[in-house]
Homo-oligomer: 690 residues x 2
């Protein structure tokens, strides 16, 4: 049986299998090198004509002026083999580094905006494997492939009909993918590095710490940021976990973790018999709520600082996405970009805003309405059913009483699936110019829906039913269940499926090591992205911050979950999926906003849950306070806490001082450059060609 | 009797009075010009030795390298005359334009960051009077004078003792001002331009529109921004004014403007006899509150867009204050600025933050506590006095019943004066590097106190006394009284004083026109700054947005006030005060934040005032609603409105699209420049001096 290790194409094995003389030739003398590092694999359709394959290879190696990608390409063992292996010459890598706006270490070790013409002032400039990380090199190859655009109307050889017609400025890669000629493009993995990384990571004995630099080097910016955030978040859970344990087990009168006390959902005056403990319980509730509010704010502010520091170290403080070519899916009329002066498709902002405001927002609202409708329907059916069951009491009605739940689950699932499709279509149709804007809008749409889906029921229980006991039960079962289910579906199931599926494939090709590596690529599923991982963290953060005062052990459960999650996710991304492309990124983007919004809502939520808490109700009744007074007091506390939260967020700077200085240095350098550059220009204009 | 017109030094009259050959000589050939425009007057002490005067003149005309200001200076009619007239050569003006980071129109008419070496690509480059506005030229002279720093330890000739010792890097102008040698530095006025401006401005017949471009050209950025804001604000008051009139006079059941209905502060069930009108009244209240909330948000967002457009037109999108020398009052240990690499005093950020957080904030809090204490004392004394008066009823107790009010006014005034001194001292001590940061911190301190002072009583009436009738009375009297008092003190009193005081001075010097102009300068008081003007607008905006639902005619009164205010302020700044220096600015700065904070609080305020409104109370009692339900309803409405407000603020972009594009163009140019500049540098490094 083959181990998962052998199932991915790896850089070294591919390099060995290929004849070095078959690489396409570089056009510039500085890039000639005896060693070529294969970076990306292009998977062609089986029935592709050799003229088409030839044409694709010529485009990939053609210079940018001719609409090509200026990369190196290798046809594999023979012309009929359905793969292309792509590498990048030094010039292309360096020019792309400049174009992306990456910062690199100069001779003094400062990260400064990379400039191709100043390349000799940078460290490791002659060793691309040190200068750029593997992930960066592979991303650049993808970026260049995606930037290929036809320079004139032409036909793609070997493809008949409309599919083969390529218009001027049309995206070549997209066209080939739509025509079914290119089936897949993915980065090759590096077995050695992956093994070394795994040892430091999911095989590590210590519970804490992850090899973030190696993760960044191997997997790239977006994935490294996810694991950095997960790491930071896990550390940050320690204080609330300690407090939760203290409140649950050491304070008298606090709610015991699982054996609920005899206070009913509607506490009569009789339920407040344990009035000795009431004072303590109320105050521990309050401590928990206030602590949770301050903690979530401080956590997010400190993460921003950490994120800025990471962004500096990884050279992404100055990404210039808005000055690059638009994303491949971008549609628009050809025109001149007013900022860069390049000819490219343009799409007016107001049209996009109209599409967002007049179509996307109402459609999302409609789906949220459908969620609420489903919930209302569910509660209505359930109460009808249970009253019927109570009246008759037969087995049929007992069985039927499960019907509303089943129907609700089916309904919710169908709605979720439909929504996912609609959200992606809508975002495509909104036609964002930058990839990051596209991602942010898509993420926001899915997020709002997920929030609603996950928390609507809990808020319904908390506010309309006012049944905190039920809420606590539901919350703890959700937390424990979702963790077990997540870990199972995320790691165990793919692992088992992969073993079974991978081994059945392996047996066929045991005798051909090179072809084995190439063909085995198909056996690993593509990486599904970090979306669901972030959603999972966010929903858990929601349980923690929104309802923490109801169930103080939330943080402990989350802490345990995260420690396993780190290893699970690490194993998964290393072994169970194909290596993904991962663009350089400056932060976790829209997810940061989502966490902040949740932290903001948590203030309100905690205040109102406290107000509704039966113990506090009993306490006020005992003290003879007017409920209106308590209500007004709650409102005042809520407002004060929100103001405190805002002040805290304002007072803690979003960037450490040294990052601010580095940023200002870069800014100052560009301003100085602008002034100096003009000297040269105006002097040469005054004294032409002297 | 002399008219106020003749009382300021004017550019033309000064130029006539001075011998052109007495100007100090320029060092660079390009700046030699037959015409020298006098810009700034330096007022020396009477007993200044001629050696000192000579030294000051030499420093002013010395080049930057020698610690001088590189300006032109004229000693006046003879060496013993106690004034210096300063002008600026073309080189100095252009270099300072570059240093300030101003944008200027290039040959194609686009505003781009000015670069000295690229100067020939800019419009009007050979005519400084067209290239820079008068205000900009004068500000540059001030800026250069303030930047003079000694290059080595030395003595100022003619000043004995410690006062005359100048250390290396010490600020020369500050030293001379502290030593009492230089008494004043102010810009000369231009009588012709001022007259032309006045005709278009305060003498204009149409109610609307101000000559903003001329104001900017003559008075400079900060003053032009004030009047732009005032203009915009006045226009923005039209919709709420129309709504207020409609609600007050055309809706049945609305509260009549001045004759209060017979509803007491504690409405019994009997007071709701006019229950036919109640529905309408309640809904008009609500309309007013919701409208006010949306209006204030939209108003501020639209102002931001207007402000960005103005900033582009006035070339201040790219000000580079953080890369310039620190402000003159800045203290610190000598070191190397990590960003610019210049030698200058440094002061660590964390120390400043400690000073702000551990000293300034508690001190401000203490003063706010004293305000509350005063208010509590006042109410306590008043109730004691009135009960004594009721008990005895003599004339003595009747007189004594005024005592608390008098004492409170005296106390408030003393506290206000003390606070103003403390706020300035604290801000100086916080030691901000940039002038704008200094201004912002100072303004914030005074603002918080003023807010408290003005609104604490009103909120006390609204929330603790719950007496909306009294609130309405107080509000209308405050609005009307403060307007009358403001207009009187701001315009009439200075006008009368100036006439009387100015004429008595004039009679002495009628025979000497040149000396008359120079000496008369002292007769005009220095411009007190825009602080009080902004505070006035802000407090009025507070009355409008915080309490609008109590007194719907507020907007009408403010509209009338603003229309007179525009003319009053215009007349004042043109005729009653000395022309001030006014730095180029990109927005109204911290005032914008203050207006936004007020607009935010207005949502809460309006919701709670509505909740407390006696009519609504009566309405709910009639409808048999539980007060708790109404309270919860209020809370929900408040939260929804805040969310709506945030969404509105987020959805309306802060800058118009074309300004965004212009900004991106500037950014893209600087990045391109950085790349290009490096070409040259690395090429020259590779091929030395070929």
């Amino acid at each position: 049986m083959s181990s998962p290790k052998q199932q991915q194409d790896s850089v070294s094995s591919v390099a060995e299998a290929m004849a070095p003389e078959s690489w396409s030739k570089v056009s510039c003398p500085c890039c000639v090198s005896s060693e070529v590092e294969p970076l990306v694999l292009i998977h062609l359709a089986e029935n592709v004509e050799s003229s088409t394959k030839q044409w694709i290879m010529s485009m990939i190696s053609a210079p940018h002026k001719a609409g090509g990608a200026h990369l190196l390409v290798h046809p594999g063992e023979d012309a009929s083999w359905g793969r292309l292996v792509v590498a990048a010459p030094r010039c292309t890598l360096l020019r792309a580094t400049e174009e992306l706006g990456l910062c690199k270490a100069d001779k003094e070790g400062n990260m400064v905006l990379f400039s191709f013409h100043d390349r000799n002032n940078f460290n490791n400039i002659n060793d691309m494997q040190k200068f750029l990380t593997l992930a960066e090199r592979q991303y650049i190859v993808q970026h260049e492939l995606e930037s290929m655009r036809a320079v004139k109307d032409q036909r793609i050889p070997g493809i008949p009909g409309d599919k083969g017609i390529l218009k001027s400025r049309q995206n070549i890669l997209q066209k080939l993918q739509k025509a079914g000629v290119i089936q897949d493009v993915f980065p090759l993995c590096d077995e050695k590095k992956l093994n070394a990384l795994g040892k430091d990571w999911y095989l590590k004995k210590s519970l804490w710490g992850q090899p973030l630099e190696s993760i960044h080097a191997y997997f790239g910016g977006s994935i490294a940021f996810y694991f950095s955030f997960l790491d930071f978040y896990t550390w940050a859970l320690v204080p609330p976990a300690v407090l939760g344990v203290f409140i649950t087990f050491f304070l008298p009168g606090a709610p015991p973790p699982d054996i609920p006390k005899a206070d009913n959902s509607t506490p009569g005056p009789g339920s407040s018999d344990a009035s000795d403990d009431l004072d303590l319980s109320v105050s521990s509730h309050m401590v928990q709520a206030v602590f949770s509010m301050i903690w979530s704010t401080v956590f997010m502010e400190l993460w921003k600082r950490r994120s800025a520091a990471l962004s500096y170290h990884w050279g992404t403080l100055t990404l210039t996405e808005q000055f690059q070519e638009p994303r491949p899916g971008f549609q628009g009329e050809m025109g001149i970009n007013p900022v860069t002066g390049r000819r490219e498709p343009l799409f007016p902002d107001w049209k996009r805003q109209m599409r967002v405001g007049l179509v996307s927002v109402p459609v999302v609202g409609l789906f949220l309405g459908l969620v609420v409708l489903g919930m209302v329907g569910f509660y209505f059916c359930e109460s009808t059913m249970s009253s019927i069951h109570k009246a008759s009491g037969s087995i049929i009605t007992a069985t039927l009483s499960y019907l509303p739940s089943v129907m609700h689950i089916v309904y919710t699932n169908m709605l979720g699936n439909a929504y996912r499709t609609v959200a992606l279509k809508l975002t495509e149709w909104e036609n964002h110019r930058e990839e990051s804007a596209h991602q942010n809008h898509h993420t926001t749409k899915v997020l709002v829906f997920t929030f609603f889906n996950n928390f609507a029921v809990l808020f319904h229980i908390a506010i309309f039913k006012q049944d905190l006991q039920l809420l606590r039960k539901r919350l703890s079962s959700l937390l424990i269940l979702s963790q077990v289910v997540n870990q199972l579906t995320e790691v165990l199931v793919p692992f088992v499926v992969d073993r079974f599926y991978g081994s059945s494939q392996k047996e066929l090709k045991e005798d051909d090591p090179a072809a084995d590596h190439m063909q085995a690529e198909g056996s690993l599923p593509p990486f599904p992205g970090l979306f669901l991982e972030y959603i999972e963290l966010l929903v858990q953060f929601g349980y923690l911050s929104l309802f923490s005062c109801v169930y103080p052990l939330t943080a402990v459960l989350l802490l345990i979950n995260n420690i396993t999650e780190i290893r699970g996710d690490a194993y998964k991304i290393c072994r169970l999926f194909r290596k993904p492309f991962s663009p350089p990124e400056a932060s976790i983007g829209v997810w940061q906003t989502a966490f902040e919004v949740l932290a903001f809502f948590s203030v309100m939520s905690n205040c109102w849950l406290l107000f509704l808490a039966p113990r506090i109700k009993a306490f006020t009744q005992d003290s003879g306070l007017n409920p209106s007074v308590v209500l007004i007091f709650t409102v005042i506390v809520e407002h004060v806490l929100i103001v405190v939260k805002m002040i805290l967020a304002f007072v803690i700077p979003d960037e450490p001082e040294w990052v601010q200085i580095k940023k200002q240095q870069i800014e100052y350098r560009t301003i100085l450059a602008l002034k100096e550059q003009k000297v040269k220009r105006s002097k040469t204009a005054e004294l032409p060609r002297s």
